[in-house]
């Protein structure tokens, strides 16, 4: 699923009352301007080429297994002078999971785990933002996985805000980390030997919509 399709789908999910949700498109990337309203005016769209989610979970106590999601779309509204009014919306193509093992990928995509066919999107929408210091935020929100929504808190580090040397466009780079208990989303296969807690990190780069 392309990022623009992901965004259209998530807008439809999160803004059912906005029948005429206007999509601000930027090439193949898009962000829904109406489905989440922040007071700040700087709107960034996630650069799908440079954004990914990496997650880890414990395996039998010996080690951790690492996976990635590379198909991620979304955007955020952020003004450094008005950080508390920032907002974030993001969606991940569940079928894009990659654990560096084709058999394991098929297992994780299957109905035994993510059930990517029935629940193709993993979504996040912010509900509150708290500024910690000049480069750190705490963003609370709802993550929806397999059709179950649960609150999650992200620790966000703002790496850099400024014009990108290659594109000349104003760009924001962030790293967001969080944890969730997979059992809360019905992902119970392998418990307890394969850990319940999933640590995840979003490496994201957003480009200002002009």
């Amino acid at each position: 699923m392309r990022a623009s399709t992901l965004i259209a789908a998530i807008c439809a999910l999160l803004a059912p009352g906005i029948a005429q949700a206007q999509m601000l498109m930027d090439g193949h990337r898009g962000v829904c301007s109406d489905c989440h309203v922040g007071a700040a005016t700087d709107r960034y769209v996630l650069d799908t080429e440079n954004s990914m989610v990496v997650y880890a979970l414990d395996v039998f106590g010996f080690s951790k297994t690492i996976g990635t999601f590379r198909e991620i779309g979304g955007g955020f509204v952020f003004d450094p002078e008005d950080a508390e009014n920032a907002s974030v919306i993001a969606s991940i193509d569940a079928a894009s999971v990659d654990m560096s093992d084709p058999a394991l990928n098929r297992l994780v995509r299957s109905e035994r785990f993510l059930d990517a066919q029935a629940h193709p999107l993993i979504t996040f929408q912010s509900t509150a933002v708290e500024r910690i210091d000049a480069t750190h935020l705490r963003i609370d929100g709802q993550v929806s996985l397999r059709g179950i929504a649960k609150p999650v808190s992200l620790a966000v580090e703002i790496n850099k805000l400024g014009p990108h040397p290659l594109t000349g466009r104003r760009t924001a780079g962030i790293i967001a980390t969080g944890r969730l208990q997979r059992s809360e989303f019905g992902l119970t296969l392998g418990l307890p030997s394969i850990g319940d807690e999933i640590e995840f990190t979003l490496y994201a780069q957003g480009t200002l919509l002009e």
């Binding site: 098929r106 392998g190 030997s193």
Partner: protein, 367 residues
């Protein structure tokens, strides 16, 4: 209505609270291509068995030996093949017993096989004496635990302090040495299996001929529940050889099956025509070779389009066939695909007035 009648009626309407034993669920996940096998090319797999009462195989709740996994070539009737449920236990016992035997002191006296007579029976000799009959396992396990004398000459086997369950598994392993055994070996729930068809493949005019299928089967026998007997869950994944006889094409439109010089082809004297190979996983497949039969006079050739999912579907490539010989001869043409992941229906489409006879379609073959 009398009170007793009322309660009888009420009782019949309420669901019965029976402690049932839920059927285990077994799934097989394949890494790489799910349709084809290539000789001596390992196939990666993960088996997941889960049971409401017992837990699941990834959690460590299930004894890994309790999931029986087999990989075998079935030459015919593979569609209806299913491992006999009783075999699950035999595999479990034999594979678990293998570890127990190797960890114990059995090797001090017994060997697996011998070419000559021995005072102490080999495993193969014991298996032959009892014809691999697993029903004798508990009795022989009793002998393992308590020691025995007189069954095999006057040789004394000392007692072994092992639980009956372990001794039974050890005997099951010994009994598996019947013939060319032990045929059943433990396979882990995640690993790889490797086809080896050198002994069964025959060479035909269109390449290797392996009409059977490799079956990867997995079964789990649960522990039962609340007096309910154990239940068995199983799954099978079937692989076909990468050289597919054209006779296995279906949905023939314009094509006809024909027997020529002892082999089968699917042929059309004058197109249009189309034929299908359904639900083919193209993961990892970049080259498809088609073997045709023809001459300058009969089935001289033309173009065969490879289309996806429908006779007028997306064009994946075209085979150019040109037979110029006076006698019927085998020719080959190939297409190179762009990467395509997942299962697709493949249609081989022949245009008007084209005349071709297809013998086989080979996926990622070097011949």
């Amino acid at each position: 209505m009398r009170r007793t009648q009322f309660f009888l009626l009420l009782g019949s309407m309420l669901p019965l609270a029976v402690a049932a034993n839920e059927l285990p669920t077994v799934s097989i996940y394949i890494g790489g291509n799910e349709t084809f096998f290539w000789d001596r090319f390992p196939i990666r797999y993960i088996v997941v068995a889960s049971d409401t009462e017992d837990g699941d195989s990834l959690s460590g709740a299930l004894d890994p030996y309790s999931v029986a996994i087999e990989f075998q070539y079935i030459a015919e009737n593979y569609d209806t093949f299913s491992p006999a449920p009783a075999e699950a236990g035999a595999i479990v016992g034999a594979t678990r017993g293998k570890e127990l035997v190797e960890a114990d002191d059995c090797f001090l006296c017994h060997s697996e096989r011998s070419t000559g007579p021995t005072a102490i029976p080999t495993y193969a000799a014991i298996a032959e004496k009892f014809q691999g009959n697993l029903s004798v396992a508990p009795a022989l396990a009793y002998n393992v635990i308590n020691g025995s004398q007189g069954i095999w000459g006057n040789m004394l086997m000392p007692a072994h302090a092992v639980p009956l369950e372990d001794a039974t598994a050890m005997v099951q392993y010994v009994l598996s040495f019947l013939g060319e055994g032990p045929a059943r070996t433990f396979r882990p729930i995640t690993g790889a299996v490797t086809p080896n068809v050198a002994m069964v493949a025959t060479q035909g005019p269109f390449g290797p001929e392996l009409p059977g299928r490799y079956l990867l089967t997995a079964s789990y026998t649960d522990r039962g529940n609340a007096g309910e007997p154990p239940a068995i869950g199983s799954a099978t994944h079937m692989f076909r050889h990468s050289n597919v006889p054209a006779m296995e094409l279906d949905s023939l439109e314009g094509f006809e099956s024909a027997a020529v010089e002892g082999t089968g082809v699917v042929a059309v004297r004058a197109g249009p025509a189309s034929a299908r190979l359904a639900s083919i996983d193209l993961s990892g497949v970049r080259n498809i070779t088609i073997a045709t039969l023809g001459s300058a006079r009969r089935w001289p050739g033309g173009r065969i389009d490879l289309r996806l999912d429908a006779p007028n579907g997306e064009l994946a490539g075209s085979f150019e066939i040109n037979h110029t010989s006076r006698e019927l001869a085998v020719g080959r043409a190939a297409v190179r695909l762009n990467p395509i992941d997942g299962r697709r229906d493949l249609y081989f489409v022949v245009g008007p007035d084209q005349s071709v006879a297809i013998g086989a379609i080979c996926f990622e073959c070097s011949y």
